[in-house]
């Protein structure tokens, strides 16, 4: 069984029951000129995850292991967007407004899709979610149960929002979660640091934290 050096202790996983989850690596969040940057965020803080994640995905696929991608977004008529999410804080740009890459966070738009470097392959699951967590109002639970998945290697953006919410949901459901520090990103370095620290606190209250090269080595052994 592959074992990875991790905080708060070594993480072992069964190759037959572990999935790689890649959260919200969407153009709206990652591309220069996109929605994320238009809110004043530094997208380079997220873009540093692309190269290590591409390498991890290649090794993961080569080992024949499953990858699940998620995308945050809403229906074109916004019928699945809660009013509080749409209207709070009087944002300069709202979900559904026209942006540089189509309507912001709307399913089917160019900006809503995953960046070119990390595009899903045919046969890989893509979960469209209306919230921050990948379990709420999606069929992720059913997919994991059907495929006998017990552990998740979690990557993507942003660390303290969608990654954290999804890890918290997964942890309550009994999944073992390994979060990869170099493959998750936050616009804010302080939240990247504290977000990872919270996961491994109190003996790993939400899971484990490691680096992707460790995982690549472990699955190639």
């Amino acid at each position: 069984m592959p074992t990875v050096y991790a905080k708060p202790g070594p993480f072992s996983f069964d190759m037959d029951s572990t999935a790689l989850v890649v959260i919200d690596m969407q153009r709206d969040f990652l591309l220069p000129g996109g929605f994320g940057e238009s809110l004043g965020n530094d997208v380079s803080q997220l873009r540093r995850t692309i190269a290590p994640l591409a390498a991890l995905m290649a090794a993961w696929r080569a080992a024949g292991l499953p990858i699940i991608h998620t995308r945050e977004g809403h229906m074109p008529d916004l019928s699945d967007c809660p009013p509080a999410k749409l209207n709070r804080g009087a944002p300069s740009m709202r979900i559904g407004d026209p942006g540089a890459f189509g309507r912001i966070l709307i399913r089917g738009e160019y900006g809503h899709d995953i960046v070119d470097e990390l595009q899903p392959l045919p046969g890989e699951e893509v979960i469209d979610k209306p919230g921050k967590g990948a379990f709420y109002a999606t069929d992720l639970s059913e997919i994991l149960e059907k495929s006998g998945i017990k552990a998740l290697v979690v990557t993507g953006v942003t660390t303290e929002v969608c990654v954290h919410t999804t890890v918290r949901e997964a942890n309550d459901r009994g999944y073992e979660c390994l979060v990869l520090a170099d493959c998750v990103g936050s616009y804010f370095p302080e939240f990247q640091r504290v977000g990872l620290q919270m996961i491994a606190a109190q003996g790993g209250i939400f899971g484990w934290v490691a680096q992707s090269p460790e995982v690549i080595t472990a699955i190639q052994e």
Binding site: G9, K85, K132, D172, Q202, G203
Partner: protein, 230 residues
């Protein structure tokens, strides 16, 4: 005349987003004020953390509870815990608690740790439920997963939540995130929460306020009381 709440002086916007809300559409959620998390001999005490940090929000929460009861808000208490046979305890949660020296289900000074019905699992007297208030028993950190909380809120016509409890970065944050995804407009109170690590308490509150209030808003109990129109 029905009491209303808002606009509350809050960060990053006056709460709620829709101006004011009737008290009857707002619930006060009191999360895991249990001896195991803030009492002597409980789970958090057994792990070696300073329970003064998790008890810090008790006086303000007690004051706000009295206010909420007076103006007719729905009050909901939650308790984290497991069945005595531990059939609802995920294996990894049990393993981790054992690693840190306070295995869930084992005997402690306040009875079996985090087991339903034991003294340590009860809510502390300062903020204990009164007859008729809803108590939600949850096996996880989030109060929505594997509970009837969403159904209870919808049945009561609740659209807005005010959150208190412990710990800020674990159970309160997980519940706030779940509520936010479900469309509830949330307010977390900085003086009615607390964590085993003061840095994580501060960071968790700060995270709420980013991106125009990604999970809602932060205020104090006084801000809520001041913004109530009877």
């Amino acid at each position: 005349m029905m009491a209303t709440i808002g606009p509350v002086k809050a960060d990053p916007y006056p709460w709620p987003y829709d101006g004011t809300v009737p008290a009857t559409r707002t619930a006060l959620i009191c999360i895991d004020w249990q001896t195991d998390f803030c009492g002597k001999g409980g789970y958090v005490d057994s792990m070696g953390y300073d329970i003064e940090l998790t008890r810090a929000g008790l006086p303000a929460t007690a004051r706000l509870l009295a206010h909420a009861r007076e103006i007719g808000m729905l009050v909901i208490h939650t308790r984290e815990g497991h069945d005595p046979d531990l059939s609802d305890l995920p294996a990894n949660k049990r393993w981790r608690s054992a690693q840190i020296g306070a295995e869930i289900g084992s005997d402690g000074p306040q009875g079996r740790i985090l087991v339903r019905g034991e003294p340590g699992w009860e809510i502390v007297p300062e903020v204990e439920p009164v007859a008729g208030e809803v108590v939600v028993d949850k096996p996880g950190k989030g109060a929505f997963y594997a509970t009837n909380l969403d159904l209870v809120l919808r049945t009561h016509g609740i659209s807005h939540l005010i959150l208190t409890g412990i710990t800020t970065d674990v159970c309160v944050h997980t519940t706030m995130r779940e509520a936010n995804d479900r469309g509830y407009e949330c307010l977390i109170l900085s003086d009615c929460t607390g964590a085993t690590d003061p840095g994580n308490h501060a960071a968790a509150l700060h995270m709420v306020t980013m991106q125009g209030g990604v999970f809602g808003c932060v205020a104090t109990s006084d801000d809520v009381i001041t913004a109530t129109e009877a």
